[in-house]
């Protein structure tokens, strides 16, 4: 069993990745509560935006990790903008066609979009080549480990995002409308809530969150790996599941916990080495346990409605 000193660097790494899970989870929960869609394309959209930004930054085979200066610095905000636009595009074009379908069909629609984008990425940016995006950062020593400002920023942003989204949902008219739609889409519509407009805003907001995540994720991954980024959302789903796709704060804390647990299992050796081998399963184990716990209520979902 590693000592606390040995675990410390892994705790730092885990907090950074947990923060990314938390922001992703927030984006997933807000969109699901408003539209009923689990955005399985969250990672693919972010990965596509990051690849386009890499090209805008002047990335090439001879500059696989471009150093950005001058006007090319605009490629960083372009990631956020592209994520928002791609998400919005789906929300305006495909999502309305599936609005009255089962959650499973809606999720499959997102999965199709994710695979479509992954295909485009593979076509445009050969995945056998190394690529990366640098984010301007400083490093400093904390205890026996090196901490980067990107990691700190990830943690701070995750708190800010959850606070801001919670405040938005509770204190603004649009937020109230979103919560109303989340409770009952049909009744909200009858009461005059502009469902379509509010849903569009939810798509756009979720896209902005995706952009923020993918501004920081490539530097944390040290790569623009298409597979890792596309399927990052799957691990991030676990936090949202624990929060039952309702509570942003539960999602936040669960995501942090998952990130930390996944990371601190890395240095386990000898008879406990299996824990390091299976640490990637942490999000799935947490999600399964959470689902089993939640299903104690024996809720049956038919056509999107809970039957007690």
């Amino acid at each position: 069993m590693p000592g606390l000193g040995e675990l410390w660097p892994f705790l730092i790494q885990g907090l950074a990745f947990g923060a990314m899970y938390a922001m992703t989870g927030t984006g997933l929960v807000v969109l699901y509560r408003t539209t009923g869609v689990v955005n399985l394309a969250f990672g693919a959209i972010g990965a596509m935006a990051a690849h386009i930004a890499w090209t805008l930054m002047g990335g090439s085979l001879t500059k696989p990790i471009p150093v950005v200066g001058g006007v090319r610095i605009l490629a960083y905000p372009a990631i956020v903008l592209l994520c928002a636009l791609l998400t919005l595009l789906y929300g305006l074009w495909i999502a309305p066609k599936l609005a009255r379908r089962d959650p499973l069909v809606k999720a499959l629609g997102m999965l199709g979009a994710a695979l479509f984008l992954q295909g485009l990425m593979k076509k445009g940016w050969d995945s056998s080549k190394a690529r990366g995006i640098l984010f301007p950062q400083q490093t400093f020593k904390l205890g026996n480990t090196i901490v980067s400002t990107t990691q700190i920023l990830a943690l701070v942003l995750s708190v800010v995002v959850v606070l801001a989204v919670t405040t938005f949902l509770n204190k603004t008219a649009t937020g109230t409308a979103m919560r109303a739609i989340a409770n009952d889409r049909d009744v909200s519509s009858l009461l005059g809530v502009p469902v379509r407009r509010v849903e569009t805003m939810a798509w756009f907001g979720s896209g902005l969150l995706c952009g923020v995540v993918f501004l920081l994720l490539p530097p944390l991954f040290k790569s623009l790996d298409q597979g890792t980024m596309t399927y990052f959302v799957i691990s991030a789903l676990a936090g949202a599941v624990v929060g039952q796709f309702r509570s942003l704060w539960v999602t936040f804390w669960a995501s942090l916990g998952i990130g930390v647990l996944e990371s601190v299992l890395t240095p386990f050796k000898n008879s406990l080495h299996f824990m390091a081998d299976y640490r990637k399963l942490v999000p799935y184990v947490v999600a399964v346990v959470a689902i089993l716990w939640i299903s104690r209520r024996r809720t049956v979902v038919l056509a999107g409605r809970e039957m007690q």
Binding site: K63, G112, L115, D126, K129, F221, S223, G227, T228
Partner: protein, 467 residues
């Protein structure tokens, strides 16, 4: 109904594109399904004089043109576009996120494109079909059967697969195909029906280990490799060599794509201990993640770093930058990427003209080299025999003393129980800016296992690589 159709179309389109995507301009598609390409766009004119000898062939090329040997150009090198029915060859390659070897077949195809613009195989084009095994045994098995039974390929050459050798060794033997690969698993180096252009991850990692031990790695060697069905083999000889040198050894198998490179590399360096050795056995995208994480974490000078061949890629050197200058020892199974030798000149010319999206790298060199081996073998045969798989494979198994500038010693196939024709290596290091530079010229890979001992004995007895 309309909605359902739209969703189905979207999902299907996504699935098809995900399965069929490939590099943007490369004509060899290894990412899904198969590709048949015989077109070409320009010519090549590099020159050199090296010799190839195949003892199973028939007559020389007809007419005034002579087959080009290493570096002399592309095939007959006569500037005439090949026409007529293609001579079809194929291979099985792995191309999935985290393990993508598609760059190798891309350069094989590039060389074929050049050959087809320069007289082809006695006037006929050569065609390459690349099947992706998707890192699934069932796909690897199906791919080999499709190539041989459906596509009727005359030779299986140039496969870069994690699974092909292990899954299809018995099948190729049954069908009488002598396959030329760039091999990964142990079966590629322990079967009578496979001979590789490379030496594979195990011997390559062993070569890197020899260098880092020479350079002062002490106490413990830690090796890292992606977790696949063949992981146990990849770093096994590192352990044997470390034991011979009285050092500890620990192997780490890691899931790819690596999502948390910082945690992975901190753990590996901690395990190696101060002054120990760390061997990486990864493709460039994965290896680069770990190296950049090590740089961020201030770990570069904690251990002596080594890597198997895949990181001998100039794009890796460019990405690593100044911090890693001279500090990563990459075993190079093939000659230096900026080697002025004529065949390497030809490789660079073809890469630039026919596969501009491909960086200069080891996989690409291997694909190019295998392309030259099969083209030369076919040109040495009687033109009437090149559609007969039996005669083509007889010519392949009889290749010996194929002189090439790309590997240290002449390449051969030969009738052996196991093949490791490439068993001398170079060591290269990143120069701090943009290329891998030579650190150590051709050196002998230590014969720490019975296979390499037997191979070296056969080389002498059968004069397989005497040049």
């Amino acid at each position: 109904m309309k909605v359902r159709r739209s969703a189905a179309v979207l999902a299907a389109l996504g699935l098809v594109l995900a399965a069929c995507g490939s590099s943007s301009d490369s004509s060899a598609d290894t990412t899904g399904g198969s590709t048949k390409t015989t077109d070409a766009t320009s010519d090549s004119s590099a020159t050199t004089d090296a010799n190839t000898e195949t003892s199973g062939g028939g007559s020389a090329a007809p007419g005034e043109s002579k087959p080009a040997t290493a570096g002399e150009g592309c095939g007959l090198n006569n500037g005439k576009k090949a026409e007529g029915d293609p001579i079809v060859v194929g291979n099985v390659t792995t191309s999935v996120p985290g393990i993508d070897f598609s760059g190798g077949p891309a350069l094989q195809q590039a060389y074929f494109d050049c050959v087809n613009e320069n007289g082809g195989i006695n006037g006929r084009p050569i065609e390459l079909i690349v099947e992706n095994d998707n890192l699934k045994p069932e796909d690897a098995a199906a791919a080999a059967r499709k190539l041989i039974e459906s596509d009727k390929v005359v030779a299986v050459v140039g496969g870069f697969s994690i699974l092909d050798c292990a899954v299809n060794a018995d099948y190729y033997k049954e069908k009488g195909y002598f396959t030329i690969v760039a091999g990964v698993p142990a079966e590629c180096f322990s079967s009578p029906n496979f001979a590789a252009a490379n030496m594979g991850p195990a011997y390559s990692a062993l070569g890197a280990t020899q260098v880092i031990v020479d350079k002062g790695a002490k106490g413990k060697i830690v090796s890292m490799i992606p977790r696949t069905a063949t992981s146990a083999y990849g770093n096994s000889l590192v352990g044997v060599y470390a034991k011979e040198k009285g050092m500890e050894w620990e192997n780490i198998e890691i899931d790819v794509p690596i999502a948390d490179p910082n945690a992975a590399i901190i753990d590996a360096v901690n395990r190696a201990g101060e002054g120990g050795g760390l061997i990486l056995n990864f493709t460039p995208p994965e290896g680069l993640k770990l190296l950049k994480a090590a740089e961020e974490q201030g770990l570069i000078d904690k251990v002596v770093w080594g890597s198997s061949t895949p990181l001998n890629d100039n794009s890796v050197a460019a990405a690593l930058g100044e911090a890693w200058a001279g500090k990563l020892n990459v075993n190079a199974e093939l000659s230096l990427l900026d080697d002025p030798a004529p065949e390497m000149e030809l490789y660079r010319t073809i890469s630039e003209k026919y596969a501009p999206d491909q960086p200069l790298g080891s996989f690409q060199q291997m694909g190019f080299m295998i392309g030259r081996i099969i083209v030369h073998t076919l040109l040495e045969m009687d033109p009437a025999d090149v559609d007969d798989p039996v005669k083509v494979n007889d010519a392949i198994v009889n290749i010996k003393n194929f002189n090439t500038d790309i590997v240290c010693k002449p390449w051969y196939y030969g009738k052996l129980d196991a093949h490791v024709p490439n068993n001398w290596d170079y060591n290269v290091v990143p120069n701090g800016t943009d290329v891998m530079e030579l650190d150590r010229d051709c050196f002998e890979i230590a014969a720490v296992d019975d296979i390499l001992k037997d191979v070296r004995k056969a080389e002498v007895e059968q004069k397989l690589n005497v040049g």
